[in-house]
Symmetry: C2
Subunit: 331 residues, 2 copies
């Protein structure tokens, strides 16, 4: 009998996520029925938004319930299909959760072609890539010659933002944690400059990296990083508010003091969630896939081996220990 | 010899403005030369933005220099003109500063008609009215049936916002300081509800006043009021960030904790200054003037008598002691 391994939400975290908030379970594999298909997941995506799903505070999406399989994006291969749209051997991307195998009705499942490595559909040719696309092009609307600032610049989203902004003819400045990430941002991702927020002099370093200020800010982080960036915004600048990872594990949120900058600089700030824009999603992925194939969009991955490592890797990702897209390899 | 009375900036405030930050000066009246005109000011406008001009921190407009006449909007009458566009007796609105008489080159000076009381050109048919117009209609973009929330709801700007939103078919909720202002908001300005932030239970009171949340928020205040309002925003709501009066006299700004609401509710926040939109200004004033004449837009004024009272009245206005538009009557 084939067994399935699944990671369940065992308890809700207070402050920092701990491995004890998860439970790993092995159960007998359920067989697909009429209209269903069985998928073996090859990679699981780990993303900051999952921290929100572990909490029961009101958000844009429902919480994962205690005892349920953790939600998450996956790529894998169809093992058995009783569904007219899929056949065994199809490679598929979807949201099948933190588990080795999954039964699906086909809803939200997309077939992917073989031109691009499967894992990329969880990164720059997937939800994080589309997030970068929507936030940068729809909400920041950078013009050639403007300066685009990105926090978490070497992460799955930030790394795409920087490269897309460069393709738009912008000057790009990243913010990342540590010298190694900053070096990667400039050398591999093509950022014009990158500031290490852990170096302890963020305001001074931003001043140097942004001699003419920032026209666009793509925010993944929040907290003191955001507060400091607000001091470097130009008049009529735009902020795409994509994430606030610095706050997700605090029991009391950071108090942002530089709100006045939003007023005196007439800033437009737009909070956004990529799934609100299905109208842009397919086009974004198609264009991002093309850029990868043309070698104009590069990406890094940090890969944890085996589903058992997922909780630890997830916590590490929340702490910024990964470089690029954090994945879990399941086979 | 006719004397002029002027109020100069004597020193920059640290924290709260004090009367000692101003100096009242009497000087001989200068005569207008070719191309110039002499205006006797009838009313001086006192507005929160003036606090910013007293400071030397970077803003959207230049600071008033120590020893200079305080900047400010005025309405008055032309006494003597050597300017082709003006004749003695013309009633004019402009920015002639905190002084009884002013020499002008005509720049930024507009003639006004006699249909509306002169003082209204400093209030709902002037800069504050245009501010309400631009912030509400351009940035909040309320749709009929939506709920519009306004802070400083009985002030020069907020009172117009509420009435315009009502004319748009919205439900309107105000926030004001004290029971008397709240009563005025509902009884005279037509707000559907008004919450007294001084009553000590703002969150609970907002919950009651906003059973279906707020779709638009017109922000004049900032600080703990804004932080509390962020908990009551609906998905896809819009904030017009017009002022942050709660912060203007603090040496350290309030730390806003509820930024996460901007993300999960996909809020659009737009900082704005009315003078950035000259394209809308004339149309707004023309329409606001029409509404006043039709009796569909009402306003209140708090009038201090004599220029010597301006510093005290200004400080009172910053503390919210006025009802409606704060003016100084000069003759």
């Amino acid at each position: 009998m084939t067994m399935n391994t699944r990671v369940l939400l065992a308890s809700r975290p207070t402050g920092w996520v701990e491995e004890a908030n998860f439970r790993i379970e092995r159960t007998a594999l359920v067989q697909p029925r009429g209209g269903e298909l069985l998928v073996r997941n090859h990679f699981l995506s780990l993303d900051p938004y999952m921290r929100g799903r572990m909490s029961d505070s009101k958000s844009y999406a429902a919480s994962v319930q205690i005892g349920d399989v953790m939600t998450g994006g996956t790529v894998g291969e169809v093992v058995e299909s009783h569904h007219p749209r899929f056949t065994a051997g199809d490679r598929v991307v979807g949201n099948l959760g933190w588990q080795a195998y999954a039964i699906s009705t086909g809803e939200g499942l997309q077939k992917v072609d073989a031109q691009i490595p499967l894992s990329a559909y969880l990164g720059c040719v997937g939800m994080p890539g589309a997030t970068a696309w929507v936030g940068l092009l729809e909400h920041c609307q950078p013009r050639a010659g403007e300066t685009v600032l990105v926090s978490a610049a070497t992460g799955a989203v930030g790394s795409v933002v920087g490269q897309l902004a460069k393709l738009q003819g912008c000057r790009t400045v990243g913010i990342a944690g540590g010298a190694a990430k900053c070096e990667h941002a400039v050398r591999d991702l093509g950022f014009d400059a990158c500031v290490d927020y852990k170096a302890g002099q963020l305001h001074e370093d931003l001043k140097r990296a942004l001699p003419t200020g920032a026209d666009c800010y793509f925010e993944n982080v929040g907290g003191v990083v955001m507060d400091t960036v607000l001091r470097h915004l130009n008049p009529f600048s735009r902020i795409a508010l994509c994430g606030l990872i610095a706050d997700y594990n605090l029991t009391e949120a950071y108090g942002l003091r530089m709100i006045r900058s939003l007023l005196v600089n007439r800033v437009r700030l737009q909070g956004f969630i990529v799934t609100d824009r299905p109208d842009l999603y397919a086009r974004a992925l198609s264009r991002l896939g093309q850029l990868v194939q043309e070698g104009r969009l590069t990406y890094r991955e940090t890969i944890a081996e085996g589903l058992e490592q997922a909780p630890k890797a997830f916590i590490g990702m929340l702490k910024g220990e990964n470089l690029g897209k954090q994945l879990v390899k399941l086979i």
